[in-house]
């Protein structure tokens, strides 16, 4: 009796399970994409604070080659159309949907001798395609600083006055100015005055033409500026990673600076990608070091995508795996993936 009764029930459960799976599959194909990532049985919203939009034609040749090398063969024979599909606002939204990312931050870049130029105006235009999901970081040219400083600062101030433009992006190594050069302190003063956080690329870079010397890559050289502008918020991107040797170089320095100064935040993007950290060991080491130092409330998630199709999702999955491996709690994961971002940039918390 018991046996004959359990068989139909089991069959019914199987049918229900199949229907649920089918519904999930159909909704994932035709419905709104599922947002967030699952952590300890709960879906957590995600903000990716580091994405690069742009125009393929605006990239320098060497950057085009670098981007092309990340695409599968033979797509990389003619990488322009594929890459443009990823770095257009629609492409970025699609990549965000694939990863379950609710909101992201688009970076302006002015590094004509290395990674190229993505103007503030371009970022504002891209943001307008989806104001609820895109924020922007503005930037400025520093290669004619002696003559154009006032003009560039005025343009930056104007860009930062626009809705959604929530901070400043700088990459000393790509833009060829030292971390400890006081001639550029007016940028940090402006950030302090306007209460707009500054994102700093730290560590080396795979792009040809980068200033790879320590004053351009080691955040220890930035300590004087951090001290001098206690009301400015500084986000140390990539945790000083050495992308050439694929190993940590200034992780300890980043952790020390964040422990010493309440205005320092940490962003572990790019260093944990398949190309830069094939085993995932370095990303786990970074997540462990920051947690052990009691700095979980200073970590802001970013990927440095879109790079290639699927990268945004892949990097998020690798980061979540690293957090799980290092014992991050649900609250800590939520802080890293969205809550810290909202607090630091003074924006509403992202929802699923």
């Amino acid at each position: 009796m018991k046996g004959s009764g359990s068989r139909p029930r089991g069959r019914a459960q199987g049918i229900v399970a199949l229907c649920s799976l089918a519904t999930l599959w159909i909704s994932s194909c035709f419905g709104a994409p599922l947002r967030g990532v699952e952590y300890d049985g709960t879906r957590v919203p995600v903000v990716d604070m580091h994405l690069h939009p742009g125009e393929w034609e605006d990239l320098p040749d060497r950057t085009q080659q670098f981007v092309g090398s990340r695409l599968p063969s033979p797509i990389n024979l003619d990488p322009g159309p594929a890459a443009q599909g990823s770095i257009s606002p629609e492409g970025i939204l699609s990549e965000m949907d694939r990863g379950g990312v609710s909101q992201s931050v688009l970076f302006a870049v002015y590094a004509p001798r290395t990674v190229g130029i993505t103007t503030n105006e371009r970022i504002l235009s891209d943001m307008s395609r989806s104001p609820q999901r895109f924020f922007g970081l503005a930037s400025l040219r520093v290669d004619r600083w002696q003559t154009d400083q006032e003009q560039e600062l005025a343009r930056l101030r104007d860009a930062l006055s626009r809705p959604g433009m929530i901070g400043i992006k700088l990459a000393h190594a790509h833009m060829h100015f030292r971390f400890d050069d006081p001639r550029y302190y007016p940028i940090y003063q402006l950030a302090s005055d306007l209460q707009k956080p500054i994102y700093l690329h730290t560590g080396t870079s795979p792009f040809i033409g980068t200033s790879q010397e320590r004053p351009y890559t080691d955040p220890a050289y930035f300590e004087a500026a951090i001290q001098q502008f206690p009301n400015a918020k500084f986000i140390l991107g990539h945790l000083g990673y050495d992308f050439g040797r694929q190993q940590h170089d200034a992780l300890e320095t980043c952790v020390r600076l964040a422990r010493s100064y309440p205005n320092v935040f940490l962003e572990p993007s790019a260093l944990g990608s398949r190309g830069s950290d094939p085993t995932g060991r370095n990303l786990r080491a970074a997540m462990r070091a920051m947690k052990d130092a009691g700095l979980v409330d200073r970590i802001i998630y970013g990927s440095d995508g879109p790079q290639s199709p699927g990268f945004v999702r892949d990097y998020l999955q690798r980061t979540v795996a690293a957090m799980r491996a290092e014992g991050y709690t649900l609250d800590e994961a939520r802080a890293v993936l969205s809550r810290n971002f909202a607090r630091v940039f003074a924006v509403p918390e992202a929802s699923l």
């Binding site: 085009q64 080659q65 092309g68 090398s69 990340r70 695409l71 599968p72 063969s73 033979p74 797509i75 990389n76 024979l77 003619d78 990488p79 322009g80």
Partner: protein, 218 residues
């Protein structure tokens, strides 16, 4: 390239008794078998054209002895990467059910588009085919080495100077397919492959193709 040719030719001459003994047992050939397995008999000739995503190409051949044929043709990927070539096809094994041939070739890589590549290219290809009447499953394996020359012109206050540098590109190619002889002189094929250009960089995507064979088999 020359070393490859000599090695393959020597291998063929070191195995003459085996190859001849087996070919004596072999049934009359089909153009389809010659096209996908190589090693046509003396006097045979044919043209083999194939295409699909993401590659296409054509190859003509003519046998000058029972174990040696000359071939020439081209391959292209997305009409961006082209490689015209000439080749020597050498019979290694030919039985009633199996054929194996080697094909060293010399070509020239011409890749246009945003990342131009130009340079001489050598390839060694193995062709294997099973014979089940009109149905001929086949496998081809190839490795390709291309030397790429980069010219840099530096304009300075002291005038212009030109610098040359050289790189190598390695490729591995594997194809698996099924060919069907419609008549002795005409056949069709369908297949898939995995060409890894610029190995070990990047992640390759597979290719899929259809092909036709036309010719005369002796």
């Amino acid at each position: 390239m020359r070393a490859l040719t000599v090695t393959t030719a020597l291998a063929a001459h070191l195995l003459p008794s085996f190859a001849n003994a087996q070919s004596a047992e072999a049934p009359p050939s089909w153009t389809t078998t010659d096209a996908v397995g190589g090693a046509p008999s003396r006097g045979s000739w044919g043209v083999h054209a194939w295409g699909g995503w993401h590659s296409f190409g054509a190859r003509g051949y003519g046998a000058i002895t029972d174990r040696l044929a000359i071939a020439g043709g081209f391959e292209s990927v997305l009409a961006i990467r082209w490689r015209p070539f000439v080749a020597l096809n050498v019979r290694f094994v030919d039985t009633a059910r199996f054929r194996l041939s080697g094909e060293p070739s010399f070509g020239w890589l011409l890749q246009r588009g945003e990342f131009t590549k130009l340079g001489p290219s050598a390839e060694l290809r193995l062709r294997m085919a099973l014979k089940f009447g009109r149905v001929v499953p086949f496998v081809t394996l190839a490795t390709q080495l291309t030397t790429l020359a980069d010219r840099t012109v530096i304009d300075s206050a002291n005038g212009s100077r030109t610098e040359w540098s050289f790189r190598h590109e390695l490729a591995f190619i594997g194809d698996l397919g099924l060919a069907i002889a419609i008549t002795r002189a005409f056949g069709l094929e369908v297949g898939a492959g995995y060409p890894w250009y610029d190995a070990p960089n990047g992640v390759p995507l597979p290719r899929f193709f259809l092909g036709i064979h036309v010719g005369a088999a002796r």
